[in-house]
Symmetry: C2
Subunit: 306 residues, 2 copies
């Protein structure tokens, strides 16, 4: 019996994890904030709950008695989340959650970390090799939480994995982030002012991120696993792809904006663990993923405009 | 106005910090668990409070509005504390406390870490140089908390220091630990069965640990600072000193017990930060500290026996 509790189940990643977990035969219990409404569906058992209310979380976990836990919820407000003191509150909530899960007999926990845990002076990030030196409070919080969950799991005989998510994109990704900002501008017929875009990054479609995490949950792999494509791309190249898909290359202004200070030139993932140990490969390459993103984005815009 | 809130104020270290802080001109507010009784004194304002009740802690901090925070309370049950899941609960409580302190306008926070944060494959531990690779849940918890408090302080413009305590001894130290176990046996006229005692460690009298932490609070030094003597001693040598002070060397059996597996041969502290930056040196050397410990221990035993 595989019964999983998923926090942040309606979020950017969670909405893709849930169907992927159902396909893998899990009984899925989704936790959503009290103020959020979800479409009732026969397949998922939805629970409204406040992760900052440790007593209520303890009660819920005790009622559901999940064998698996996938904890995705976190502060994600663009700009703010990097250095908000709220990150500490999320560590507290996450620790209370994993303690409750363990106390209720939970067997395997997967949580999400970030490429922000690595020392960005090293361009290529490999689990267990690249030093961890988070430059932000968000990165510190994820690193600290990982240290503690791994330590608890080791002591308690629980299985634990830690998915380090790199850069993601998709129809529901925030329009202030790359490549959403470019897609939005070009679809509106506006100039897309960009930096030179020389930075090299690893992007993965949000749907693939969700499926990769579901595969990680369903595996026996423990410890940190990079959740990324393993296909480095220069930002300028991604912008050009978007412009080609939309058919408005003349609106792109590479170099119109100054590259922010402190941006590492290369920040990419070694994905050997994900590929060889978890046995997972992405469904989308960057071209097809961006095409999917643009077409859904255009549909959503039409729907909003009508 | 220097007003400090001290948690664990009646503990092994806290009881020595409080008078040292009073001498330095602090208005001292001591927090003790609800079930614990303290001798009322005009000099210290005592508060009974449960650190696991975040709402009550928030209220207390808001009422006291301390400029300084010295957080010493933690699980210390011998044997148990190394790997108890309670360590995670202490991280949660400590984060809630420091967030409340910051929200109430707190200016400087000092917390205590441990030599258990360092990678013990490196015998000599130096702040910012020796890698951190805690082998226990306790060490992970302290390391994670430090990462988060340092990150919060950096973002919030708060001053923060982190005292890494090594090995301590003293009249009130637990009799199951070195050198208490030897002192107890020899004072009772019993055989003291010991390991070979080839391990080299750094011991500091609990009173000196308290005074060092008070000096750290009262300085502007930030980041991790080893709280130790800087005088490595072989355990066998310490046992011989104790036997000489008590006058019963014939009762000591070095080598009667097997040295536990995994004990690092050398685990000592580099104390340059404490000495040169904080400007603090110990009052006791090992000989005088052990003499003090034995004489008070003997007095306490007499008092108990009468």
């Amino acid at each position: 019996m595989k019964r999983i509790l998923v926090t942040g189940a309606t979020g950017l990643i969670g909405r893709h994890c849930v169907p992927a977990l159902l396909m893998r035969g899990y009984e899925v219990h989704g936790l959503v904030p009290p103020q959020e409404s979800v479409a009732p569906g026969a397949e998922v058992v939805w629970h409204a709950g406040d992760l900052f209310d440790a007593a209520a979380v303890g009660q819920l976990v005790d009622d559901v008695r999940p064998s698996h836990l996938l904890h995705l919820a976190w502060i994600t407000t663009p700009g703010l989340f990097w250095n908000s003191p709220e990150n500490l509150r999320w560590v507290e909530a996450s620790l209370a959650l994993v303690r409750a899960f363990h106390a209720a007999g939970g067997r395997r926990v997967v949580m999400t970390g970030s490429c922000a845990e690595y020392d960005w002076d090293h361009g290529c990030c490999r689990e267990g090799v690249t030093p961890l030196r988070p430059a932000t409070l968000y990165g510190r919080a994820k690193h600290a939480l990982h240290t503690l969950v791994e330590g608890l799991a080791g002591q308690a005989g629980m299985s634990a994995a830690w998915g380090r998510v790199f850069f993601l994109y998709g129809p529901q990704a925030h329009p202030a982030r790359m490549p959403g900002c470019v897609i939005r501008a070009l679809l509106a017929g506006e100039i897309a002012a960009c930096t030179e875009g020389n930075q090299i990054r690893d992007f993965l479609h949000a749907s693939d991120v969700g499926h990769a995490l579901a595969a990680l949950v369903d595996s026996a792999v423990e410890g940190p696993v990079n959740i990324a494509s393993g296909e480095p791309v220069r930002l300028a190249e991604m912008v050009r792809m978007v412009a080609e898909i939309i058919g408005r290359p003349e609106l792109v202004r590479l170099g119109a904006l100054k590259t922010p200070a402190g941006e590492p030139p290369i920040l990419v993932a070694d994905v050997r663990r994900l590929k060889e140990e978890v046995g997972w490969t992405p469904r989308f390459d960057l071209k097809s993923g961006l095409t999917d993103t643009v077409s859904r984005w255009a549909k959503n815009s039409l729907r909003c405009a009508s």
